[in-house]
């Protein structure tokens, strides 16, 4: 089996690694701005599929299939994002005689529609969050949606039917804010997913986001894994995930795993998938949605179960039956935490910070896993998600995993651009995080309360030493005959202005 990876960045690198371990050759694809990307160098073959914007490359089904045909690939792994949950793509792969490493197109289509997925959960006897009975297409007038909103009840959430990762999603506390929330959700969903259909859902107050990873084979076995805790979110985007959750007892784990498995079984689910739940303060849990693909945060599950989910995706696609012991899959060994390292400036409200990476000093050492897609000399493009790498720390206990993560973050340096590493160093010290007292609203509330204060904590001595290092650096450059550092030019006025703005409360 030769595998074409219809993706880029860290997940393409991750899948290439799994293929290599299984002895399978790989084909990477790349856009104009990704010729320098790491996945292109790591794969056995690489095919150019178009321009920088994803709609011109990574979302071009025709070109991806053509790349598979020309290279003789016979399987396609979609990764996550891009076409991973696009039923048309999965169908097109099958029609072209390719193995699609994922669930069937029909299941992708059904579970990809949030409303159809809700119905499936209800049929499987799993509770769902109260919400719209049917989706609202782009041309449904706001007043019609507003009537449904009164029935669902405030506070509520406007969600894109095709949504994911917090895109096309807006919280609404009062009726008068509904029209603008509908407008922005539709606009964001339209540009991100090409589908601006939305629906409404009651907002569960202070919930945790707990999800269950599943594998399903082609022989009728559906296997749930120990939960992932994904409540640390910024604007509905997960930033830290861990396994297990401090909020989940073995009894609750079993009930959530059973609920997830029954939803998956009821739709004939195959390959890797994840069922997301909201866990309310009273211990009740509600089906939120199903992701019919590999998740970004799959490594934390791998770390606590010693199972390789990408290996299993491929083996399942090859027709192998699952041979994992169900009890082991539900019994976490130790604790794993993942931080998503983004090219964003936490000190400027997490604005994207694309640009040339001058060097990478990735964390390593005991218990550390770095799933990265970057290297020195690569320019982080503006066209895609800004995630650079995922840093995963494993240890026997959560306390030790946090200490290990902190140590690894302090080793991790991405030169030339700003990243969210300083933010994670700060987060790893917050008492609520350390004690596990948080829900999905925790991080946004905490960030809002900081009034834009810098995440970069330096002692006076550290500041002095950086100033000395800068002077020595300039001295060495000058004495080496290079241009003196001062010739680098003035700090641009706009950048200074932008930074001042960001600091304003």
């Amino acid at each position: 089996m030769k595998v074409l990876i219809a993706n880029r960045g860290e997940i393409a690198v991750r899948i290439i690694r799994a293929c290599r371990e299984l002895g399978l050759p790989t084909v990477a694809v790349y856009s104009d701005c990704d010729r320098d990307a790491r996945h292109v160098r790591d794969a056995d073959q690489a095919v150019h599929v178009g321009g920088g914007p994803a709609t011109d490359s990574y979302l071009r089904i025709d070109r991806l299939l053509d790349a598979a045909r020309r290279t003789g690939a016979d399987a396609v792994h979609p990764g996550y994002g891009f076409l991973a949950e696009n039923a048309t793509f999965a169908r097109a792969c099958l029609d072209a005689g390719l193995t699609f490493i994922g669930p069937s197109p029909d299941v992708i289509a059904m579970m990809g529609s949030k409303t159809a997925a809700r119905e499936a959960a209800i049929r499987a006897g799993v509770p769902v969050v109260p919400g719209s009975d049917r989706p609202f297409a782009a041309d449904v007038p706001t007043d019609v949606i507003a009537r449904d909103a009164e029935r669902v009840g405030y506070p509520l959430v406007v969600k894109a039917v095709a949504g994911g990762g917090g895109k096309g999603m807006r919280q609404v506390d009062r009726a008068e804010d509904l029209p603008s929330a509908i407008r922005t959700a539709r606009s964001e969903a339209g540009s991100a997913f090409g589908d601006s259909t939305i629906y409404l859902e009651r907002r569960i107050v202070r919930p945790r986001h707990i999800e269950i990873q599943l594998l399903g084979d082609h022989h009728g076995t559906v296997l749930p894994f120990v939960e992932r805790e994904c409540s640390i979110q910024r604007r509905h985007q997960k930033v830290v995930e861990e396994s297990p959750s401090l909020a989940v007892t073995p009894d609750l784990r079993e009930r959530m795993a059973n609920a997830a498995a029954s939803v998956a079984r009821s739709v004939g689910y195959t390959n890797a998938g994840t069922i997301e739940f909201l866990l309310a303060e009273d211990g009740a849990f509600y089906f939120l949605e199903m992701n019919t693909r590999l998740q970004v945060e799959h490594p934390v599950t791998e770390m606590v179960t010693s199972r390789d989910l990408v290996h299993w995706q491929i083996r399942i696609a090859q027709g192998e039956p699952l041979t994992i012991d169900p009890a082991q899959a539900l019994t976490p060994q130790g604790h794993a935490i993942e931080c998503r390292i983004y090219a964003e400036d936490p000190d400027q409200g997490f604005l994207p910070s694309p640009g040339l990476i001058r060097g990478v000093r990735a964390a390593s050492g005991p218990g550390i896993r770095n799933d990265g897609g970057i290297a020195a000399g690569y320019t982080v493009p503006v066209f895609y998600d800004s995630m650079l790498a995922k840093l995963i720390a494993w240890a026997g206990t959560r306390v030790d995993a946090v200490a290990r993560m902190t140590r690894a973050l302090s080793e991790y340096e991405v030169l030339g651009i700003r990243t969210t590493i300083p933010f994670f160093l700060w987060l790893m010290q917050q008492p609520e995080f350390l004690e596990g007292r948080f829900d999905t609203t925790y991080l946004d509330a905490l960030l809002a309360s900081r009034n834009g204060q810098s995440f970069i904590a330096l002692t006076k001595e550290e500041e002095d030493r950086i100033a000395i290092a800068a002077a020595l650096n300039a001295w060495m450059q000058a004495s080496a005959g290079g241009a003196p550092a001062s010739a680098a030019g003035p700090v641009s006025a706009w950048k200074a202005a932008a930074r001042r703005e960001a600091r304003q409360p």
Partner: protein, 172 residues
């Protein structure tokens, strides 16, 4: 040789001179002189041993960013903007001139595409009121007014692709 180091909005004067053996320097900051053993590592790193502090080690990497003249100093996972001899350039920067006229420019902090323009020239705006929505890296970022005022100029329209630093709106 004395360097003006702008770090975290503060200018520090650092005098550097050789201290005999290769790689050894006498460094003076805030009136305190220290002997430092300094060694390059990689293209951007400076490894230092501070003689006055039992040869305590500090490794800093200083690399330029995409913005002309700006460098980031990386220490223990943290990245701080630093510039050398910045105080001289700051005096001639356009920033101060703009402030004198009471105008404030709102610029694109990153390359992207303008999705929506929320204000028109002449509009009164409150501090932190949204002015323009710019999409970059699949997220919509609302750029807000840094202060209350009146919109003097709107220099972009929905659909415009903008580079980092492009002036979008002027608030007076």
């Amino acid at each position: 040789m004395t360097f003006e180091i702008d770090l975290g909005g503060r200018t520090r004067l650092v005098a550097v001179e050789r201290a005999g053996a290769p790689g050894r320097f006498r460094v003076t900051l805030d009136g305190v002189t220290r002997v430092v053993d300094a060694q390059r590592f990689g293209a951007y790193g400076v490894s230092m041993l501070f003689g006055d502090d039992h040869d305590a080690t500090t490794a800093v990497q200083i690399a330029p960013t995409a913005l002309r003249g700006e460098m980031l100093a990386h220490l223990g996972g943290r990245a701080v903007p630093v510039s050398v001899n910045a105080s001289r350039t700051r005096r001639s920067g356009g920033d101060a001139a703009g402030a004198a006229h009471g105008d404030h420019t709102v610029v694109a902090p990153m390359p992207g595409r303008v999705v929506r323009v929320l204000v028109a020239p002449g509009d009164e705006v409150a501090a932190r009121q949204g002015l323009v929505v710019v999409e970059a890296m699949k997220m919509e970022n609302e750029l807000r007014s840094p202060r209350p005022g009146r919109v003097k100029d709107v220099l972009v329209a929905a659909g415009t692709s903008v580079e980092a630093g492009r002036v979008l709106v002027v608030v007076e």
